[in-house]
Symmetry: C2
Subunit: 120 residues, 2 copies
């Protein structure tokens, strides 16, 4: 078992993203076999990239006011919002408030790529 | 993409556990391919069972004061605590406060059983 507080985990600058940091609070190095938990902090006026990739996101918003962007439009989200971004979907998370926008975001490990489709 | 608020999701009585409810906020029916997100509410004086199973838990505590129990002892946890319960580990979550103890708990889907070991 691993027990920690999210804020104890090293805060890393998200690569190429000014005003966005990530903490990998549960990762394979902790013994997680299938998926990782990260905590993101997005500063006011900042956002994650509008992009896509094979893996899904499972997101829970902890704090602040933001927007999730998809091809069909934008949706306001805040503390307690839950978002599933499916594999290959375009998506972006924006801070639209005046305080930090903080969310948990879980992703599967790379070795799972394609296995869900093969299983279905 | 699925966007919802955790509290909109139907609250279910956890089977055989008085004072414990669960909301499956992201599940396979939403299109999640690998793992599910649940939100548990444990009432004061109540707890989840002391048990184990093949799958891991990735937990983030949202609210309240509690204790996580493992074979080696008990650890106090509260808002912002992060816990990885590894597969087969004995574990229990107890509410030790006077308000609701609320946490997110993620689990892999059944079809992943044994694949991580085979992959490692």
């Amino acid at each position: 078992m691993k027990i920690k507080h999210w804020a104890e985990v090293e805060e890393q600058q998200a690569e190429g993203l000014e005003g966005v940091t990530v903490r990998w609070v549960i990762n394979d190095g902790d013994g997680a076999p299938h998926f990782a938990m990260r905590v993101f902090d997005v500063q006011p006026g900042r956002s994650t990239p509008y992009h896509n990739h094979w893996w899904e996101h499972e997101v829970y918003v902890l704090k602040g006011e933001g927007m999730v962007v998809q091809e069909s439009g934008e949706t306001s989200i805040s503390s307690g919002s839950v978002i599933l971004v499916e594999g290959d979907e375009m998506h972006q998370f924006r801070n639209t408030g005046d305080q930090v926008f903080r969310f948990i975001c879980l992703i599967p490990f790379q070795w799972l790529e394609g296995l869900a489709q093969a299983h279905a």
